[in-house]
Subunit: 338 residues, 2 copies
DNA sequence: CTGAAAGCGCTTACAG
DNA sequence: CTGAAAGCGCTTACAG
């Protein structure tokens, strides 16, 4: 910047103003000279100097568990792209769903003077509490703030669960089961709750709804284990809600091992609608969550926080349960007929 | 830091030295006092101030196309974790395989004073040329430097292709085909080349090897399209190399639509060995690339570059073609018997 | 309309 | 063994 200033015969203050578009009645001639110097020297403002001065960078931290999950990857892609359009870049932190790692990252990100935090499926932790208390701009995605309150982007999980209940009942499956995780996140437990509530409301006896709860953190293994428990304690159900697509994948593997045809013998309904399903999981019905639209909402929430506007939860609409459809064609909503 | 200094009754220079462990014969008493102050005030050094002074941050930029590809996600996870262990954080830039976006990011990352670049499947571009000319620490992953030279981490793609040729021949499939992408990356074109070379070397007439080349950027759609071309021009082959798992997924979809049983009627062999295959793609044989080990190699390469040591290419060993195996159990290498 | 100066948080020769 | 001072690249009240 000093070089540009010298080259253009002005002060660095002037260069700074012009670079930042703060040209309240600046002389057109000066502007031209400076811009010419900038171009000639191919000068680019240094983000770090700027960040130090502002005490905030144009970097946003995204903390997420396991990118291995296609749903997480989809969120990351979407948020990254939306941030970029808004002039920010994203540091990706893989927390593996572990509180200590989350806190390590939270600290490291603070040292980076990040402009905000995107917490995907955050877990409760000391550091999260402090971040929130400090008032740092934070938006929660997919899983609500475990400490309550705060900006949030996600679907109405209870409704999604209810939709699956309606769908399975509509398929003539009168005693569907539910496969879920032991470590309960708000999102998946709400799906299960909404599912069960609706079944009960429609006349299914509460104790006729079989619940299988798999241990661990990996949803795919949870699905495999939960399906195993379910089958051991009473055979394959005719249909089941898997609270995430990954859980459905795990259950599928067991079905293949048992030679149980899916979906003919047991209809599995997942939640996420991973893009890959349309290619290699013709057997899966899933509630699609439009993760590709999450980025825009997350950035809007952040911008509200930055400008001091209070934010509320954003509920993105999910889609009806649907299965296999033609590539390129719009998703074919499954009719109740199964 | 000034606060800590005041609190401990020393200068900021002293605090800085102690924070950075530069305690050449420092008085133990001073150290204790400073550390106590640091703890009391829960002081943490500011990365941005540090970066400005050093003119280099502890941030590494990773530029990758489409995280939607599980292989890319696996690389991102691995690199992120290895960087973290080395005290760095990772900015993730999704280039969508487009040169202009890659250049935008390269510029933005330079402004961030990133310590290095991890280019996953980079494309040739002006900005890449400049970055390299400038001598910025850069390591290429999966796809070689399109401009030649440079640090690289990946498998021996030619050998992988040859292995698939041996495998298919060993299955008694005498006229296997190959499905590949039009936009040729070094990695996938080397796989195809190694495959064909080996087939020819083992007596398959060159013009008996059917090659299907799909257009576009999305490997899954490339696979679908390429399979379509292949089938239209001579029916389903008895076996094929798909130069990536995603391409195999695309081909699989067409097979399902055609009612062609995979692998009985047509054995598909992919490359990547995505973790998900073991759960929902029992029909796929794949060469597994141990992406989980890439992070360590990438960081080692970067550290060499930082310390001015010249680096060479790192070739990670891939695994033999294998299919469906028990979860938790070691991958069962497929025998030639099919 | 523009410049001089202070300061964001840190590090590092240079003195002492 | 430790401190005063300069400087990394930028922004912004304050003067003029």
């Amino acid at each position: 910047m000093a070089t540009v200033a010298r080259d253009a015969g002005v002060s660095v203050a002037t260069v700074s103003r012009i670079v930042n578009g703060k040209i309240g009645r600046a002389s057109a001639e000066t502007i031209a000279r400076v811009e010419e110097a900038i171009a000639r020297l191919s000068y680019r403002p240094n983000s770090v100097g700027r960040a130090l001065r502002h005490r905030a960078s144009r970097v946003v931290a995204m903390l997420a568990p396991n990118l291995d999950n296609p749903a997480m990857a989809a969120i990351a892609v979407s948020v990254e792209s939306a941030l970029r359009d808004a002039g920010y870049v994203m540091i990706l932190c893989d927390t593996h769903d572990r509180a200590e790692l989350q806190d390590d990252y939270l600290r490291a990100m603070r040292d980076q003077l990040v402009a905000g935090y995107v917490m995907v499926s955050a877990v409760r932790s000391k550091g999260l509490e402090e971040t929130l208390k400090r008032g740092d701009p934070t938006v929660f995605v997919a899983r609500r703030n475990p400490l309550g309150g705060g900006a949030y982007v996600g679907i109405d999980n209870r409704q999604a669960g209810a939709d699956v209940a309606d769908f399975l009942l509509g398929c003539g499956i009168e005693r569907p089961a539910v496969l879920m995780a032991q470590q309960n996140a708000s999102s998946t437990s709400e799906r299960a709750a909404g599912f069960i509530e609706r079944l009960v409301a429609r006349g299914v006896p509460n104790d006729a709804i079989r619940r299988a709860i798999g241990p661990g953190l990996s949803h795919i293994e949870i699905g495999y284990a939960a399906a195993g428990m379910l089958v051991r304690e009473g055979g394959w159900p005719r249909g089941a809600l898997c609270v995430s697509d990954m859980i459905a994948y795990g259950a599928y593997r067991l079905a293949v091992e048992h030679g149980v045809p899916i979906p003919q013998r047991c209809r599995l309904v997942g939640v996420d609608g991973n893009a890959i399903n349309a290619w290699i999981a013709p057997w899966l019905t899933s509630i699609r969550i439009p993760y590709e639209s999450f980025g825009g909402h997350v950035v809007a929430q952040l911008q509200s926080l930055w400008s001091g506007v209070s934010t509320s939860e954003v509920h993105v609409a999910h889609e009806a349960p649907s299965a296999w459809s033609n590539p390129g064609a719009p998703a074919r909503p499954a009719t109740g007929a199964g």
